[in-house]
């Protein structure tokens, strides 16, 4: 029987998918299995509670309503912080198109890109204590530069030729911006948002450990003080689950929906 090229491609894709998922699941089984085995054998159960215990604790915390309230507090801070960082970063990205502003902000942006979030967490904790704008300032200071460089790069690479083409065909400035400038900038804005969110997430939890009286970081600190290792691990695990969900489901869906054309271009 002859096998068509299409069938060969399909079979190769199926194999690829199987390898990807089997290896992924194997990774989980090995890590969780080792962890469960090590709990009570390598380290005492109090120091290293196993995954089953952690899941039980997670269910208890969920039933008490703690998970929802902690996530609500942390996410509110992240969303606010990232939103302000995005506005400040984008404004600077636009301003730095001017040579004077570019010179003025150059080193500040480099510092913003290279400084670890921890230093801003410490400074804002000292200055603002546990006021609500403490974590917000830390997020803005840690992530604004990521948005700035992305926006600046987007503006710097605006397709002048295509804009000229639109001008030659008397396409108005509103349509030019709507159909050329914004779609061109969108991937840069998205990348800025993605980085800003992933770093903002870490910084927020860090600020909560130091100063806040609610949120995931706060709950982790309390659990650590009370030596409830199972709770500490539960919060860490939830942190991982949320980060994976946000990256692999939410951001990926946005990317597939709006930036499909980039993948198509890359594949040609």
């Amino acid at each position: 029987m002859r096998v068509t090229e299409e069938e060969l491609v399909k079979a190769a894709r199926r194999k690829d998918l199987t390898v990807r998922w089997v290896s992924r699941i194997l990774g989980y089984i090995v890590v969780l299995g080792t962890w469960e085995w090590a709990s009570g054998r390598v380290l005492e159960e109090n120091l290293l509670p196993g995954p089953t215990r952690v899941v039980q604790t997670a269910i208890e915390l969920f039933n008490k309503g703690k998970i929802f309230s902690a996530f609500e507090a942390t996410l509110t801070r992240i969303v606010l912080g990232v939103a302000v960082a995005f506005l400040v970063g984008a404004a600077l990205g636009i301003l730095t198109q001017n040579r004077w502003f570019a010179g003025f902000f150059k080193d500040a942006i480099t510092i913003g890109l290279t400084s670890p979030g921890l230093i801003w967490v410490l400074i804002t904790a000292l200055v603002f204590g546990n006021r609500w704008y403490g974590p917000l300032s830390a997020i803005v200071l840690t992530t604004f530069a990521l948005v700035t460089v992305n926006v600046a790069e987007g503006i710097g690479t605006l397709p002048k030729d295509t804009i000229d083409m639109a001008k030659a065909f008397k396409v108005g400035v509103v349509r030019r911006n709507r159909h050329i400038v914004i779609p061109h900038l969108a991937p840069f804005l998205f990348t800025g948002f993605r980085f800003s969110f992933s770093i903002g997430w870490k910084v927020t939890v860090l600020t909560e450990i130091f100063t806040a009286s609610s949120g995931i970081g706060f709950e982790m600190r309390i659990a650590q003080i009370l030596f409830r290792q199972d709770e500490v691990l539960t919060w860490i695990l939830l942190f991982f689950v949320f980060a994976l969900f946000f990256e692999k489901v939410v951001l990926q869906a946005i990317e597939n929906r709006f930036f499909r054309w980039r993948k198509e271009i890359a594949s040609t």
Partner: protein, 244 residues
């Protein structure tokens, strides 16, 4: 048909020591059902002139009017390289420059896409499509205006494809009353297509205005066309435009 009147058109780029004169006091009239080619060495202001005529650039001084039946003309422009929006489909790219997006316009776009075997790809976003689309179908799909500017549209095509497209372009021009201003660096192409050739020299100076009085269609292998091409090149030599 359209009428173009250019008087004392001057264009400079940069300031101070960096100043470059792209066009120097050009005076020109183009009118009626003509095919005008602009030839000259690289950097002589050919494309700048088209950009000013189409409104992409503004002149430093001088004036120009472009009219069609007494009203301001809405020219079409065929660029040298792909200028498409990769996030839009092939059909949406063509519709982008159309003020009227009615079903009649869509049908017209479809007709020209069919002509270049892209008719079944209207919903596809692909760079490969863009390349074909920009080089071949772009100028057909934007064929509606009565005044068309073309900036070396065949320069990146192979000789055989370019030749067949030149023939097609000529027959389409002959069948309508359009005015075409065509920039090229290929004297043979200019002789084959045009009834008027404008020769530009470095510094944006209009050196000569040659009428090519040969019957259409012109085959590049015809003796008369070859002689005409040789005569134009001779003028280039006289004007000291050829590298020695």
């Amino acid at each position: 048909m359209a009428d173009i009147k250019i008087s004392n058109l001057h264009k400079e780029f940069g300031v101070g020591d960096d100043k470059v004169v792209a066009l120097e006091n050009v005076n020109l009239e183009i009118s009626g059902h003509v095919f005008v080619s602009i030839v000259g060495p690289s950097g002589c202001g050919k494309s700048t002139l088209l950009n000013i005529l189409s409104g992409i650039e503004t002149p430093t001084s001088g004036s120009l009017t472009i009219t069609q039946a007494g009203a301001q003309a809405a020219p079409g422009y065929v660029f040298q390289a792909a200028r498409l929006l990769p996030w839009r489909t092939v059909m949406d790219n063509l519709l982008f420059v159309q003020a009227d997006k009615s079903s009649e316009t869509r049908a017209r776009c479809q007709k020209y896409l069919d002509m270049v075997q892209l008719g079944d790809m209207i919903n596809i976003i692909r760079t490969s499509c863009q390349v074909v689309c920009s080089s071949a179908s772009d100028w057909r799909a934007r064929w509606r205006p009565m005044l068309i500017f073309m900036d070396e549209p065949f320069s990146h095509l192979d000789a055989i494809t370019a030749r067949s497209l030149r023939r097609e372009l000529h027959s389409m021009w002959a069948a309508t009353k359009k005015t075409i201003v065509f920039v090229t660096h290929d004297v043979g192409e200019a002789v084959e297509l045009s009834n008027r050739i404008l020769v530009f020299a470095q510094g944006g100076i209009l050196k000569d205005d040659i009428n090519v009085e040969l019957d259409f269609p012109r085959d590049p292998s015809d003796e008369a066309v070859a002689v005409a091409k040789a005569n134009v090149l001779k003028k280039f030599e006289e004007l000291d435009l050829l590298a020695t």
